[in-house]
Symmetry: C2
C-alpha cells in the first residue's frame, strides 16, 4: 500500500518537472477525456487523494475549484500543503486498518459503506489512471511523457546483500 | 496486492464488453500516445502481465507480435489462455515472496535485480496507466469510457455485520 502511494508521489513530482518545460497555455488547454486538461488533472488527483484521506479521518473535505489554481505553482503549493497530512496518514497505515469502515453520506440521503482498504486502493488506482491520460496528451503536444515504470525508482530497496 | 490484480481483471473485462459495441476499425486505428491503439493496448497489457509472471517463475517469455492478434476475439482468447497461469500465481502470492529477487539479464550483458514485490506493483501500475490512455481514446470516439473506480466493485467484501 505505502509503496504505491510513494510511487504516485514520485511520478507526480516528475510530471511537475515535465510541466516546467511546457507552455502554460498547453497545460491549461481543455482536452478530450478525463477532467479535460493536464494541470486540471494534477489538481484533481491532489484534491481526490486528500479528500478521501480527510473522509477516513472524519475531517471536513476540500471544496475549492480549479478556477483558483490555474498555474503550475499554485497546484504545486496546494500539493505541498495537503501532502503533509496525507503522508502522515499513509506512514501510519497498518494492516489492522484495512477492514475499518467508512460510512459516506450521499446527497440523496443514502449511505455508502466502504472498507478503508478499498478506499486506499481506490485512491492509488485513481491517480495512476489519470496519469495515463496525461501521457496521451503529452504526445499530442509532441513531448515524451514521464515514464510510468514502478521498477528502477528504488521505491522498494533491495536487500543489502544483493547490492 | 491480490485485490489490485482482481481490480485490473474486472476493468479489463469491462473494456472487452465496451469494445463489443465499437467498430473493429476504431479498435485497430493507430492513435497518439501509448502503444498507439485500443486493441493493441489490451494486447500489450496481457503480454506484459504474463511476461513478468513468467519471468518470476523462471519460465520462458512470450514472443508473439500484435500482428497475429488484431481482433477482439483473438485478444480475449489470448487473455483467457494466459490468465490461468497468472491467476494461479497471484492466488498463491504471500508476503514472504515480497523480497524474493529476480535477476533479469539485459541484451547488453548487464543484469537488473528486482524484488518480486516491486515487479508485482510494476505490473499493477502498468495496466492502470495504459487503461487511462484507452479512456482518452474512448472519448475521442465519442463513447463513455469504463469507470476506473475501485470502489463499488465489491473487490473487498464488507464484513458480514455491516451489510
Amino acid at each position: 500500500m505505502k509503496a504505491l502511494f510513494q510511487y504516485n508521489w514520485l511520478i507526480r513530482e516528475d510530471w511537475y518537472q515535465w510541466c516546467e518545460d511546457v507552455e502554460e497555455e498547453e497545460l491549461l488547454l481543455v482536452r478530450t477525456g478525463g477532467v479535460g486538461g493536464i494541470l486540471h488533472t494534477l489538481f484533481h488527483i491532489i484534491d481526490v487523494e486528500w479528500s478521501w484521506i480527510r473522509l477516513l479521518q472524519g475531517k471536513p473535505d476540500f471544496q475549492e475549484s480549479f478556477e483558483e489554481y490555474k498555474s503550475l505553482q499554485k497546484v504545486r503549493e496546494l500539493d505541498a500543503k495537503f501532502r503533509v497530512e496525507v503522508e502522515e496518514f499513509v506512514r501510519n497505515w497498518d494492516l489492522s486498518m484495512e477492514s475499518n469502515l467508512l460510512h459516506d453520506s450521499l446527497p440523496d440521503g443514502r449511505t455508502d459503506i466502504f472498507t478503508w482498504g478499498e478506499v486506499m486502493r481506490h485512491v492509488i488506482a485513481h491517480e495512476i489512471h489519470h496519469i495515463g491520460q496525461i501521457s496521451v496528451w503529452a504526445r499530442e503536444i509532441g513531448k515524451k511523457p514521464v515514464s510510468a515504470n514502478f521498477i528502477r525508482r528504488e521505491i522498494i530497496p533491495l536487500p543489502e546483500q544483493s547490492k
